[in-house]
Subunit: 371 residues, 2 copies
Amino acid sequence: MATAPILDASNVLELAEPLPLDGGQVLPGVRIAYETAGTLNAARDNAIFVAHALTGDHHIVSNHPKTGKPGWWVRMVGPGKPIDTNRYFVICANVIGSCMGSTGPSSIGPDGRPWGMRFPVITVRDMVRAHVALLDALGIERLHAVVGGSMGGMQALSLAANFPDRAGAVLVIASTARHSAQNIAFHEVGRQAIMADPEWREGAYYGFGKGPEKGLSVARMAAHITYLSEAGLTSKFGRRLQDRNEKTFGFDADFQVESYLRYQGLSFTDRFDANSYLYITRAMDYFDLAEEHGGLLANAFAGSKARFCLVSFDTDWLYPTAESRNVVHALNAAGLPVSFVELSAPYGHDSFLLDVPALDRVVAGFLGESR
Amino acid sequence: MATAPILDASNVLELAEPLPLDGGQVLPGVRIAYETAGTLNAARDNAIFVAHALTGDHHIVSNHPKTGKPGWWVRMVGPGKPIDTNRYFVICANVIGSCMGSTGPSSIGPDGRPWGMRFPVITVRDMVRAHVALLDALGIERLHAVVGGSMGGMQALSLAANFPDRAGAVLVIASTARHSAQNIAFHEVGRQAIMADPEWREGAYYGFGKGPEKGLSVARMAAHITYLSEAGLTSKFGRRLQDRNEKTFGFDADFQVESYLRYQGLSFTDRFDANSYLYITRAMDYFDLAEEHGGLLANAFAGSKARFCLVSFDTDWLYPTAESRNVVHALNAAGLPVSFVELSAPYGHDSFLLDVPALDRVVAGFLGESR
């Protein structure tokens, strides 16, 4: 038995045709960076598309080229793992609008200069259109499954709704069918923090030093709080001081949680483009699957024949269980097979990326089921 | 029967002695701006001190001098109201560190220049020391009650713990005995947003234009989200668009919640000093009443003979009910009389400032009880 190369981390697809966008424009010269793991079988029916979250990328199992850290879902994807690359051909593509190889605001536009804020505003459905173009190029008519957490879950739902023949199973983790007022509010704080930074230069900062690092750092800090649970923060940091025994009565990072947040903000600026942060948060805020389908979420799934699995976490206050339940009710109304589980995990929204063995069992079980 | 002036909105007390601070320094030349309503009786035993929240001030019933809006607790304080000025002499003082008349970083320091970041870091207990100096000056030995919501509740608890003879009753609304890791995290985001603004100039922006308005605005936006409940935001704004029928596919404030938050941020900069925001948030983050008293919260109340009432709101996720319950348990352990109620209100943390009739009844009832 031949062993095929199981990892190809540096693929780029260039689309021959401009990509039509929800905003009415078309995006020319689209490049899609993607990674695959495992082997596509002869029937071409063992592919699983994994969609990444807001600041994620296609390096799902390969080391991140900038940080050197292991792929973001290496605990879930690999030989013998819940998404088993001995069995499945796993594809992960950087979303358009991002900054890790797919076309986004930091890419060179048709006039030879970076797009910046001239890049068109995109939607989650636009991201999915690019994914479908990639599936076409790979000759994959129908995925065994589409899987995603957080914004990845939005893409999975959008693919199921808008391209109902392209996936046999849809696994949505810690996600939602629409961004709530509170979700929009937190993103707006982040965008305003970036735009308040004079180094942002109305988005035309490429080639001018380091860009709006301070603003992007503040945006990341605010967002990061929403990814963690209050209890998780308390057990991880509490009110413990950072490398000192006494409060300094100053404005240094006295508390560990301050030091941690500052680090999260600062290190993010090394790997992410501020304009991409603006565009992708905007896409998420625009996401409302019901609105796209006449105002009734069940309608979104009217053409689907897929089976679904929704997973939420009890400590996730960004996309709480009620949001998953909302999707489950719509799928029930549409008469589609759906399983739903709320898992107990202490880490808040970030649980989908962390060590939650119950999630592994749910993922492996759902993907392995036959219809 | 003579009618005494019931409102005096423009008092300033200048302390003759420097105020000792928890950080080890002393603060010279302290001015305390305060407002009173009602009449102090001959026995001088009908005074109620109301402590204000982070961005509040002493204009509890008088119109705000900058915004022209009614006093911040005019619905609670006045003739025939739950804190009845026909019966009680109500005092509210601007906390030190603030910017509405009491000494803070925007005040002129001993060298004739604004303090800026040379102002000493203060604590909630330092604020209370200033309040007690005011009570001394007013000849009030013992308050009928001390009352406060949010940071005002922290001051009430601190006064009860550190000056146990000065109040007969302590009413704490939507507050906590210590700032949690999540509380600190949100404040740190706000401070970093201010400090990231080049107009902050290391705090020495007085006399240079408008100061760090953009940073302060972002800080206020982030904080404001924590004052509201997710459900409240959804019912108030949902995903409704602002003055338009279609999304613009741009970065304007398409959603009402974005427009609202931007307004909240911007209007805040007209009435509040950025350095004061740094100092007062720092004081709140440092607040840990148990830590001040050997690590056991019950010890904080060992010398108290007051009766207590704790009120929380079911939708307050900034200082959730568990924080109030924590104080109640400590008071129980200290053998002190305490009543506790969790009220149902849709507005989140801000409920203490809004129309919650059940709160009015609790406040009136608790203040009117005889021991």
